[in-house]
Amino acid sequence: MKPSALILRAPGTNCDQETGYAFELAGGSATYVHINSLIENPQELAKHQILCLPGGFSYGDDIAAGRILASQMQRRLADVIGQFHSVGKLVLGICNGFQILIKSGFLIPPDDQGLAATLTWNDSGRFIDKWVHLKADDEKCVFLKDIEHMYLPIAHAEGKFMTRTDALLQALSDSNQLALKYCRPNGSNGEVPFPHNPNGSTASVAGVCDDTGRIFGLMPHPERHIDGTHHPQWTRHGAKPEGDGLQLFRNAVNYFA
């Protein structure tokens, strides 16, 4: 049996098909399930190994990106997702999915003042579609195993990662949870200015995992770089056999091999 990804759809989800296709290309299978149907039948989740929240504009991103679906999932699916995760399964949130994982508190637990971290408006104040260089830390995050560097597109308006306190940022950093960061084209760390850090994210954070490494959210779109011709300069260097993002899906699928 191929490891199976449940691709969660909701009003406004729009990257579901290509994300499912990426799981299939990586050797898994994909099932598309609407949020209404999952709430009606939460036991469906247990049939799958990976829960994936794809990109899009869930409920229009009205109020704030991902906020409404996050609230709905928190109220209706918290137990079943908690159960799913506790038996060693994987949760992946891409772009809007990452925003949902953050705003539901699934990734970073809230404190008595509410959310401790957020993804808010880009410094530019606008939606932006562009390619970025990324440096991965695979110490903890199972999705990033053996990945050092990726070149992927971002497409979001609210992707600036912020924590309410510096202490939280330090703690996340110390436990290797700030797993994916924007970097300069030469891969160098340190200060990463605009446009390499495209949204002003604190510590150039592009993706965060939970303390088990099995819940991971990222703003860039790995499913948009799985084919050689996805690369914006493939006509210069020739199309590679596969894009940088495919390994992330393969890591998820192979985790269950």
Binding site: D62, K103, T118
Partner: protein
């Protein structure tokens, strides 16, 4: 793990009184105030002082049975992001303002009652889901403005903070008791006293009811009802007006035209049919068994074959008038509408990419030079771009192609063209409603939005339009449409309906009227789900509320159809039946409010006969400029062209659009080593496991039209095709669309230019074997106002023809881009240069006048495209760029800075006509059609020259490893510049923050 999930408080409110709460949300100190920044950004265009200081809050009015604790819990758990925001919550009108803001001018901006407020709708659903007892929610924005004069404050309020066609403004505190939810209306059947009216009264009625009908049309309606022996009801009159409107029936272009030019007079029975359609018919006949057109000029979009499994549908619409009044909503509903066109084509196509083309006046226009009632072009442009962005991105459809043209004559009539390509299974490309099918509407509810949109679209704009036409402006809700799209495609694949169409201009009237044309229909207007109470039966019938689709559902499929919609929270309602009576019967409860024969409705319109005249203007030699010295004489001309608004980089727009969603992007709109060069056409793979691609491009040359619309049309077609071919599309599989936007076509001279352009389309389409598959026109784009001297002034847009092209790439591995690839490679010009400087960008920036407009040698063009395509497909070409605005010099410059590689070329071998007055000028900047610059590897030289045998190609020079563009003529450098300075000239003009 479990402690990370908190169960939201289950709010119950049995005894709490209904209260209107006000929640104001501010950015935390030190964090950016996005709303205020947006306003300050716009203030720069309105001559407002730089010292202006603005703070802003976003907010919600929430009406429900909630106490203070409950509203605070909702605010904290749902509305406010505590990491970056803080909220102030109070009863409406009792808000305590922070001391630092309390002495500033407080201004509230709220959507007008009835205007779509998507954020509020989502917030209400989300709050109700927590168990909260909520009646209504509205959003608002609040601004705190530093001390200003009354005039400054008024300008700020009217032009920047509030758009009074959709919003209202409140100075000081909010004094609202409750959110109006609409009032129960009483049914009253209205008749219109028509049959005894004289001509003056008929025209007065047409005006009073905003029908935009002519006298002859009113007389025809009068005669019809006289023969029936009764007066029409209001709804009958409205239905006829909508069906016969220019917007819905294209009576001018599809009507009789008597056309006269210097070769004589020609009478058309149906002008479009005898020009553009006729070309397609002829091409299909020639192709015979190889005909790859599937459905042309009959459905909501044109359909052609893609591969064995799929066809592709393509449509481009205009949404000009609403965008002039409310750019954001206008563009929003423009893109939303064209997406519904492809969704409503055949049994439904899946949208795979968008294209958007705009025409504006210069964003640098001085505020003082604006005619009264006109919005500043920079504000229009920002609003339109945001509208397309927010709708297209939310729909998850990549916006891959576009263009922007600037001309001062667009000042009162900006043009907004929105296009969509859809993928449709070959066996779903036709539809046929069946007698007794149910009429089902799904998606958005019906409100008073957009009443009279169809008839308004057909009239001229005036300075009063922003007051009288408010009802015609709407805001879209993309997520509603995305939900509709999801269930529509699922229902299509389960064969749950026999026909579908969109609810566009004319609302149910248009959708049901068209779908039931061959059968008849009975509509139960009281069944339509409404946004609020109080709509009359006529308002329900003609409302243009967005995000609605109408289906013909067989009775035995209805239950499954309904359940499918319900499972994704999409509202589906039966509102009638396609009854085989040949009549359109409109009922409200037990009352029959309208009864019209489909025959009268669709065939009863009196023929319109119009005169059209074209007098070719005299052509003159280029004049009005100082001849340049050869040595470095032309560099500044090149820099000015690159920095002219039409040519300048549009990255500010492009990067706001998601152009990669759906995962099929192959060639992006911006290409090259830094992803910032101007690509010729975008390529996408609409089927993820296939290597076949679609190339989308466009061509438009309004400046040529000032000289000769025939050659404008052929040049635009040539440009659209060559952009497609430049990236690797097969020229024998390119389908094109026409969009005519013209001035007042009752004027014979204006209609004459349109007919002449249509003749150009016909002639070139046939020779190129490039079929038109769909099109749309928007006429009477003129703006009238009274100038300060009391004189009536009218500004007509330049005659504007957009050609959109959809090409096919057999294997995307063969695509090429325009950026230079490697030093040492050779550069060639493909094609023949004439002295074509009339309407050129060089003329535009140098202030020169006269000159010949570019023409197309159609046979040569066809062969050139075939040979170049075969060279590209054989891998002989490393980069390829079409020559258009700015000619050879601009094309080479763009290729160089996109590839971060220099170019060293010599134009001595470029042949020009002996008659050319200024040879160097023509070689560098002529805009002759069917030309490219291509880059090939030195060892491929012979193979390339052999492949292009019979086509004029000129070896220009080579790619070099230096940061320079060098163009030599007669041994001297006539253009030399660092690439960075050329690139800066090109990138800076529209590099908005």
């Amino acid at each position: 793990m479990s402690n990370t999930f908190t169960q939201a408080d289950n709010v119950t409110a049995e005894t709490t009184q209904t209260t209107l709460w006000q929640v104001e949300i501010f950015p935390l100190p030190g964090l950016p105030d996005r709303l205020a920044a947006e306003v300050l950004d716009g203030a720069a265009f309105l001559s407002l002082p730089e010292s202006l200081n603005i703070n802003a809050a976003r907010g919600f009015l929430i009406q429900g049975a909630l106490d203070q604790t409950e509203i605070e819990t909702l605010s904290r758990n749902l509305l406010v992001d505590p990491v970056v925001e803080k909220a102030v919550v109070s009863r409406c009108g009792h808000i305590e303002t922070d001391q630092s803001l309390s002495n500033l001018n407080s201004i509230y901006v709220l959507p007008q009652p009835g205007v779509t407020d998507p954020q509020a709708e989502s917030a209400m659903v989300a709050m109700r889901a927590t168990g909260a007892n909520i009646d209504a929610v509205r959003t608002f924005r609040r601004y705190f403005v530093s001390e200003s004069t009354d005039d400054q404050l008024a300008r700020l309020s009217d032009k920047l903070l509030c758009n009074d066609s959709i919003e209202l403004i409140v100075h000081g505190d909010l004094q609202i008791d409750q959110i109006e939810l609409g009032r129960q209306g009483t049914f009253e059947l209205q008749h219109v006293e028509l049959t005894e009216a004289d001509d003056d009264q008929l025209m007065a009625l047409s005006k009073q009811w905003q029908l935009s009908l002519t006298l002859v049309e009113m007389q025809t309606i009068q005669a019809h009802f006289k023969s029936l022996g009764r007066q029409p009801t209001d709804i009958e009159l409205e239905t006829v007006a909508q069906t016969w409107s220019e917007h819905c029936s294209h009576k001018t272009l599809a009507g009789r035209v008597e056309y006269t030019d210097n070769s004589g007079t020609r009478n058309f029975e149906n002008m479009l049919k005898e020009t553009i359609f006729a070309a397609t018919v002829s091409i299909r006949e020639t192709l015979g068994d190889d005909d790859w057109c599937v459905s042309v000029f009959k459905d909501n979009a044109g359909i052609v074959r893609f591969d064995d499994q799929y066809n592709v549908a393509f449509k481009v619409e205009t949404h000009n008038r609403p965008s002039a009044l409310e750019p954001y909503g206008g563009a929003n509903t423009g893109i939303g509408g064209v997406i519904r066109d492809t969704l409503g084509t055949g049994l439904g196509a899946k949208p795979v990419c968008n294209t958007d083309v705009f025409c504006f006046a210069s964003p640098e226009t001085d505020f003082a030079d604006l005619p009264p009632g006109v919005m500043h072009p920079a504000m229009i442009m920002k609003g339109v771009v945001s509208g397309v962005r927010d709708y297209g991105n939310r729909m998850g459809i990549p916006t891959v192609n576009g263009a922007v043209y600037f001309d001062q004559r667009y000042i009162g009539n900006p043009l907004v063209f929105c296009g969509n390509v859809g993928l449709i299974p070959t066996d779903k490309s036709e539809k046929e409603p069946q007698p007794n099918d149910l009429i089902v509407t799904i998606g958005g509810r019906t409100g008073r939005d957009g009443i009279h949109g169809a008839t308004f679209s057909s009239a001229e704009l005036t300075e009063e339009s922003d007051v009288t036409s408010g009802g015609a402006v709407q805001i879209g809700n993309a997520i509603t449409e995305k939900m509709v799209m999801d269930v529509l495609l699922a229902a299509r694949d389960r064969d749950l309906y026999s026909a579908v169409t969109d609810c566009g201009a004319g609302g149910f009237s248009s959708a049901v009227g068209e779908m039931g044309e061959e059968i008849g229909a009975e509509v139960w207007l009281d069944k339509a789900p409404l946004k609020y109470d109080g709509l009359s039966y006529t308002e329900i019938w003609i409302s243009e509320a967005q995000e609605r689709m109408v289906f013909a559902v067989p009775e035995d499929k209805w239950e499954e159809f309904r359940k499918l919609c319900e499972s994704e929270s999409v509202e589906a309602t039966v509102i009638g039946r396609y009854t085989p009576t040949g009549n359109l019967t409109l009922k409200y409860g037990d009352n029959t409010v309208g009864e019209l024969s489909m025959e009268f409705l669709h065939d009863g319109r009196p023929p319109v006969i119009r005169k059209a005249e074209f007098n070719a203007p005299e052509t003159a030699a280029v004049s009005g400029y100082t001849p340049r010295p050869n040595a470095n004489g032309w560099t500044s001309d090149l820099r000015s062209i690159l920095g002219s608004l039409n040519v300048a980089s549009k990255h500010w727009i492009i990067r706001q659009y998601d152009h990669e969603v759906q995962g099929g992007s192959v060639i992006k709109p911006l290409v090259g080593v830094n992803n910032d060069g101007p690509g010729d056409a975008a390529v996408v793979r609409p089927v993820l496991d296939s290597r076949r691609g679609l190339a989308i491009s466009c061509g438009m040359n309004p400046h040529y039209g000032d000289i000769d619309p025939y050659h404008m049309a052929t040049s635009s077609i040539d440009e659209a095709i060559r952009n497609c071919v430049a990236v690797g599309a097969d020229p024998s599989r390119i389908a094109i669309l026409d969009n005519f936007c013209w001035g007042y076509t009752d004027r014979p001279a204006t209609l004459g230019t349109l007919v002449r352009a249509a003749l150009g389309c016909h002639d070139l389409s046939i020779v190129m074997q490039t079929p038109f598959i769909s099109g749309k026109d928007s006429l009477n784009n003129e703006f009238s106002y009274t100038d300060p001297d009391g004189q009536r002034q009218t500004i007509s847009i330049p005659s504007t023809l957009l050609i959109s092209a959809m090409g096919q790439v057999p294997d995307v591995a063969n695509c090429v881009t325009m950026d230079l690839k490697k030093a040492g490679n050779l550069l060639y010009q493909v094609g023949v240069t004439g002295e074509h400087l009339g309407g050129s960008h060089w003329s535009l920036v140098s202030g020169a006048s006269g000159g010949q407009v570019p023409t197309v040698d159609s046979e040569l063009a066809k062969t050139t495209y075939e040979k170049l395509h075969s060279a590209i497909s054989s891998g002989l070409v490393r980069s390829c760029h079409d020559m258009s605005e700015g000619g050879l010099a601009a094309a080479v410059a763009e290729m160089a800075f996109a590839g971060d590689l220099g170019a060293s070329i010599n134009v001595d071998n470029v042949e020009i006509p002996e008659t050319a007055a200024d040879g160097v000028l023509a070689k560098l900047f002529s805009e002759s059609n069917t030309r490219f610059v291509v880059e090939i590897e030195a060892q491929r030289r012979e193979a390339f020259e052999a492949a292009m045998d019979g086509i004029s190609i000129t070896h220009l020079g080579e790619v070099v490893e230096i940061d320079r563009l060098e163009i030599r003529s007669g041994g001297e450098l006539c253009i030399e510049s660092e690439l960075s300075s050329l690139k800066a000239a090109w990138q800076n003009p529209l590099d908005w923050s």
